[in-house]
């Protein structure tokens, strides 16, 4: 089967590239567009390290065939800061020591961005529920949950 042309808006920039049949959005982001923040932890939709936003919804990009989201808006961690200025979630993760090895961080922050966009004032349990698909093997969940709640406070 031949490759197909895919058009996406990624972090506000229009991108056009060729994708192999059934190529995952994660592969396109990393191998075609050089956006390396989203990680390949399991490649089977169970760890959440590849989470990005597609039309504002958090998805595991390893499970999305890129040809099925033609013309979508995609947002990755690279598109969150405004130049060198961090957004509230990033700043809260930084200040709250919510990173350890850093491998889950991109997925955690993108999941948090989606949550706060939809629910600006989440409860502790709602945060826990939102990140339930993102594995932090360093088990730094308390700091992560606290950082997301802190970010919600900073946005008020």
């Amino acid at each position: 089967m031949p490759s197909s042309v895919v058009n996406l808006t990624v972090n506000g920039r229009e991108q056009e590239f060729l994708a192999r049949p059934a190529e995952s959005l994660l592969t396109s982001l990393r191998d075609r567009l050089g956006l390396m923040a989203a990680k390949r932890g399991c490649a089977q939709g169970s760890c959440g390290t590849c989470t990005v936003l597609v039309d504002d919804k958090p998805v595991m990009s390893c499970l999305v065939a890129v040809e099925t989201i033609e013309a979508a808006e995609v947002r990755t961690l690279e598109g969150v800061a405004d130049g060198e200025r961090l957004d509230e979630v990033q700043q809260a993760f930084l200040d709250g020591f919510a990173t350890q090895c850093g491998f889950c961080t991109a997925g955690m922050i993108m999941t948090a961005e989606a949550l706060l966009a939809e629910n600006p004032d989440p409860t502790h349990d709602e945060v826990v529920e939102a990140i339930s698909g993102n594995v932090c093997r360093c088990t730094g969940y308390r700091a992560i949950v606290a950082a997301i709640l802190d970010a919600a406070g900073r946005r008020k």
Binding site: R30, D31, G34, M36, A37, A38, K39, R40, G41, C42, A43, Q44, S46, C47, T49, T76, L77, E78, V80, A81, L86, Q90, Q91, F93, L94, F97, T99, C101, G102, F103, C104, T105, A106, I109, V135, C136, R137, C138
Partner: protein, 441 residues
């Protein structure tokens, strides 16, 4: 707090800004032009002679560039702690004549794409002649058990001529004879996988000056550099490791497993090569914490004083030594726990079986021993109808006590820690226990 510049203030982690902006570079965030992918054809048997390896169909797979076997590795046999004097070399980079555990690498398939490398690996046909396998540490030590690893000659690691790490302190038999109670219980743990979110892997990039640049998520850059150079038969300065950024390690990325074969692949093809485990490989073949079996027999007086402790400990090293001989030594060094026991006897066996090689993980050798020792303490307390904290306080070592390793204990604090913990959880201790101290008068 005064006079301190760091203590008492929040200091940002040096890597955190990279993490929250996605700019931290993990090894796989490199995508050099011309990158080749390496995947393994692995053993489907626990123990077998390799009667034949047929790579002809694999070689015909579209995108497959080259297939490596043991013959392609300059010095195929190694052991990771060789440079600190551990012997013998007992593990091949690629299987040579025999496979000793399920999942052992046999052929490395190098291809233009990951998919082609997987397809090629699946088409390698291996003719196995099954050999008897052994999966239990005590069965492995019985006479007549199949020998797992001929390089080791026996199913146990030999420590300076001895079949195990031993402690002989006082006379436990006399302690058992004079004890009010003798308690003997058995403890067993399963292998535990570290399960890092970033799987084990590396990218090797040949440089114009003939050196190889190795981008790796190893926790042990220098073990990797030294061992890889020995395996390749090159001077150490022909290799450069770029590492230190590890997406979760927990001890699981201390072995030298992906870099040597990737270096050979990069040398033979003259192109960058990536070898990264998928999740299944991380779970199946990356070395776990060893399974351990621990039998503890204690001589105990009716007041709770432990007068003798005999420990027989087995570490399941799997098919190869890796770091398990060291872990077993750590277990022996940790016995009999933080207690002043006048008679101690221990045999700590590092045993080879046809299971996945085990290796380092957070406090290996000590963690499972502590599980057994402290479970034993709780069970003794229950059997004597005693407060488990009081039992520990009666037996806790104090500064100046001679340990079973014939060293005076110093800097001890078990008593104070227990007293503080008891206070914090509202566990009342009688006055005599509250007045105890680690500093003997």
């Amino acid at each position: 707090m005064t006079g301190y510049k760091v203590i008492g203030s929040a200091v940002q982690r040096s890597d955190a800004l990279g993490h929250v902006t996605g700019r931290t570079e993990f090894f796989e965030d490199l995508n050099p032009p011309g990158l080749l992918h390496l995947k393994m054809a692995r053993s489907e048997r626990h123990h077998a002679r390799l009667a034949g390896i047929d790579t002809s169909e694999a070689e015909k797979t579209k995108g497959v560039v080259r297939i490596l076997t043991a013959d392609d590795i300059p010095n195929n046999l190694f052991t990771p702690l060789k440079l600190i004097g551990v012997e013998p070399d007992d593990e091949p980079i690629l299987a040579e004549g025999t496979v000793r555990y399920r999942g052992e690498p046999i052929c490395a398939v190098i291809a233009e794409t990951e998919a082609a490398a997987y397809e090629g690996a699946a088409k390698v046909v291996v003719d196995y002649e099954d050999l008897p396998a052994v999966f239990d540490v005590e069965e492995a030590l019985r006479e007549g058990a199949p020998i797992v690893n001929e390089h080791q000659r026996t199913n146990f690691f030999t420590y300076e001529g001895h079949h195990c790490r031993r402690i002989r302190f006082g006379d436990v038999e006399q302690a058992f004879a004079q004890a009010d109670h003798v308690f003997e219980w058995r403890y067993q743990s399963a292998p535990i996988e570290h399960a890092p979110t970033e799987t084990t892997g590396c990218i090797v990039v040949p440089q114009a000056d003939g050196r190889l640049r190795i981008h790796s998520d190893t926790q042990a850059c220098f073990f990797t550099l030294d061992n890889t150079a020995l395996i390749l038969g090159t001077p150490f300065n022909k290799l450069r490791i770029v590492g230190g950024t590890v997406g979760g390690g927990f001890g699981g990325k201390v072995d030298v497993v992906v870099e040597p074969v990737s270096c050979v692949a990069a040398m033979l093809t003259g192109r960058p090569v990536k070898f990264v485990y998928n999740r299944r490989e991380e779970m199946q073949v990356s070395s776990p914490r060893a399974a351990e079996r621990i039998i503890i027999k204690d001589a105990v007086m009716s007041g709770g004083r432990i007068t003798g402790r005999q420990v027989t400990l087995y570490v399941d090293s799997g098919a190869y030594a890796r770091h398990s001989p060291y872990g077993t030594t750590k277990a022996a060094a940790h016995l009999p726990g933080p207690y002043a026991i006048p008679n101690v006897w221990a045999d700590c066996h590092c045993v080879f079986t046809n299971r996945t090689p085990s290796s380092a993980m957070r406090g290996f050798g000590v963690t499972i021993a502590d599980f057994a020792l402290e479970s034993q303490m709780d069970r003794i307390a229950r059997a004597l109808d005693m407060d488990p904290l009081q039992l520990r306080l009666i037996n806790a070592y104090r500064d100046g006590d001679l340990t079973a390793h014939r060293k005076p204990a110093e800097g001890t604090a078990l008593i104070e820690v227990i007293q503080k913990a008891a206070e914090m959880v509202g566990h009342d201790l009688p006055a005599e226990f509250q007045e105890m101290s680690s500093w003997q008068s």
